[in-house]
Assembly symmetry: C2
Homo-oligomer: 475 residues x 2
């Protein structure tokens, strides 16, 4: 079905939802809306008219979902929406003319400038593209549309940026300002096996620029989320929900950074930080202490603290940065370098080493490679002259490195190898059959950067190989 | 009973435990040992031969416990030990000659240099007193004594400081080195209503400088802790247990600092951080997010991160500081100043204001005033010319300010007042009868620095008074 007109005719009885941005959040959000648990919507996914955007929308209209889906529910819901014929994708912004609800899921990126060591030198938030996206809605939307921002934005953005743009557009179109509704309700989407549930079956926080807006957001969210089990929380203003999102991700990033910094100390002191963390976690107040690792990746935790700190300096007055949260990003960004240096100590001749990286995505059992810390480790190894091959069961093509990845683990293991690096916590790598295969190789160095192997597996492997685990005081 | 000789004769069948240091930990640890659940010990508490030390030991021998005890078990155990006649206190170090077990509970302080704003300028760890305390044991102890350090010490101290001192002393005394046992097992003592339980009924981590030492510590701990319910955890070396203690307290201090910094941002953005935290806490990974407050106090959280950072720079090689953890201390130290400036905004004429501080200790329902953040707030107010009176049901004499505190709340409330500041979370202050009394006063400014009042109480008080809560976006 490639025709918007016939799509709308077929769905003429339904409210229309436009979802702006068909990336990791918007594409899946579209599915959730098209299969609303308490509503019956016609959903139009909108992406930018670039080559990539056109491919995504064409694919969607031709029955091809743009993401490799580890969550079987994605395929199920996509098939249902095809059968119901209530999901259409386009790059034309005039579809906002017919939308009752517009959901904004475009990216708001940050420009980070890092030293070669990973150290954060500078960063900047450029709102230009985001403003353009909001304008395209303001120039087309119904005067009484409900506009919901799901994008993670700097606190203050709804009031200081979105509202003025939409109001100016409406004024230029000689439309009243008192009917439009603007709300903010951030997603907590978690790519992986619970992708759909992370929208449908999870807690939601929301707000509006006024009470009418907040009420409208609330009504809408009840139609797509199981709010009986996961009650909604309304906060006092949009600053509050915007802050909640970046606060929760800053907190997470900080907790990771804490362990990153202490894992370096632990190595210096020959302390096994894993057993220390296990001992401390017995205290309920400390149960969420993280384990050490190679650092943090993904789209959110690598930047949200900086969005917040930027907002504090540029959008809400002109105040100090959020030092504690900024330093967290800085520490995490340097962890891949530390892992590389750790390896150098144990293998001074890295230049001639043949290395296999097990996992390139940033998270176990997920194929998302955005800002993966493995990428920096990979780059350091390649720059030093090592021969590096990569395996990842969830990544066929490593976008950021323009690299095809052979999915057959045996092929990788059958080549001549000096070092195997466990770099992503995919389940397959800790299966005993995988460990058996590694055990049977000629003696080599196994470097577990994420504490993925069990003590039993480590002890077995050590009978033949050299095994080093980051954070175990193995230096 | 004032005579050590007769004490030892009366207890000749028992193993002797000496507890070095009779402060907040050692005095209570002595009681727990004298009333060991699986042992029968003669306990000698040892303090320094200063005027204060002599008073403490004399008091103990005369049936006066040195701490105001909110935990009824303290009184019970003290009376039992008096009846059993198995607890003696002294300032003589030669008692270590008869001790089978020596437990070290002396303080290891840090010298912090703070700017008037609270900003941390510098800090230093001076081990001289600690070394002296260890020497006094080494010069007297049995060659096969078990020495357990409970003091929070910089990671590396047991191996780099304690062991060499003890070994040197033994060498000088022409005694063998292979019989002495040195272990580390940090306390998690929490002054307050569960004082005794925080030793007897809580998880313990321990280690030894060798296996023999670790085994001996384990055997001993089984006799004083309910290890059936709270199993012991042995860590690989003393660096690990030393690190575990400062790590868990650094983590806590960091989590507090995180909310301190964000609470300032929240004020600027008119965001009620309490409702934000409540919304985020629904996520199990974020359930231990703290609420905003006036900062952090007490003996541990204000310094332990610095002990760790100092050790990383001075005891374990010569490495970088633990930046993330140091900055936490720095942020927390500045919070009382922020609370003061917040108040200034709402009351420009603080100079002439009559102010009542409700609570001076650092923690609710506890009388411990060490490093209380209320002290800094008190100082700022006094310096600015305000007339400040203080109430605290748990503090009769405010040591750090050499101030007698009238325990009768009504007397305080009956004076003419402009501002009431809720500064410590004692239960009595949120009882409705207290709120009623405050309600009935002439209109004044109520400043809740710790989010102690309920929304209902705030709304009621607001009908007559001005109420401001730190972290609620009330600026």
């Amino acid at each position: 079905m490639n025709d918007l007109k016939s799509f709308l005719q077929n769905n003429s009885s339904k409210k229309v939802i436009a979802v702006q941005g068909l990336g990791f959040v918007g594409s899946v959000m579209s599915l959730v809306c098209a299969n609303a648990i308490n509503g019956n919507y016609a959903v139009i996914g909108v992406d930018v008219p670039t080559k990539r955007g056109k491919k995504i929308t064409d694919d969607l209209n031709n029955g091809i979902f743009p993401l490799v889906a580890e969550d079987p529910k994605i395929d199920q819901l996509f098939k249902k929406s095809i059968a119901k014929e209530n999901f259409f994708a386009t790059t034309e912004t005039d579809v906002y003319k017919v939308a009752d609800v517009v959901i904004i899921d475009v990216n708001l990126d940050i420009d980070k400038e890092n030293h070669a060591s990973g150290e954060l030198i500078n960063y900047n938030v450029d709102l230009a593209l985001f403003k353009k996206a909001i304008s395209s809605i303001g120039q087309n939307c119904k005067e009484d549309a409900l506009i919901i921002i799901e994008t993670t934005i700097p606190p203050g953005t709804c009031v200081e940026v979105v509202k003025p743009i939409i109001h100016n557009c409406l004024k230029e179109r000689n439309l009243p300002l008192d009917k439009i509704k603007i709300g903010h309700s951030y997603e907590r989407v978690m790519p992986g096996p619970n992708y759909i549930d992370s929208i449908q079956n999870f807690y939601r926080v929301y707000s509006g620029i006024d009470e009418k807006s907040a009420n409208a957001v609330e009504l809408f969210l009840h139609t797509i989320i199981r709010t009986d089990e996961y009650p909604l929380t309304r906060l006092g203003n949009t600053n509050a929900t915007e802050m909640a999102k970046v606060l929760e991700n800053s907190y997470r990033a900080m907790n990771i950074a804490f362990m990153v910094e202490w894992s370096r100390f632990a190595e210096e002191a020959c302390v096994d930080l894993y057993e220390v963390v296990d001992a401390i976690r017995l205290r309920p107040t400390h149960a969420n202490l993280m384990y050490p690792g190679i650092g943090v990746g993904g789209y959110c935790l690598t930047k949200d603290a900086l969005l917040a700190s930027w907002a504090r300096q540029n959008l809400i007055g002109e105040n100090e940065p959020l030092n504690q949260s900024e330093i967290a990003i800085n520490i995490n960004d340097q962890m891949p370098r530390f892992a590389f240096e750790f390896l150098q100590k144990h293998c001074p001749n890295l230049k001639d080493a043949k290395i296999l990286l097990l996992g390139v995505s940033y998270r176990g059992d997920v194929g998302d490679t955005r800002y993966s810390p493995v990428e920096m480790l990979f780059n350091y190894l390649v720059e030093t002259g090592s021969t590096v091959s990569c395996h990842d069961p969830y990544v066929k093509y490593w976008d950021e490195q323009s690299l095809n990845i052979d999915q057959d683990l045996s092929t990788h293991l059958n080549q001549s190898l000096d070092i195997i690096i466990l770099s992503t916590g995919h389940s397959i790598y800790k299966q005993d059959k995988t460990v058996d295969k590694i055990y049977n190789l000629e003696p080599l160095l196994i470097f577990d950067t994420i504490g993925h192997l069990s003590n039993k597996q480590i002890n077995r492997l050590k009978k033949k190989h050299t095994v080093k685990v980051l954070g175990r005081g193995d230096i």
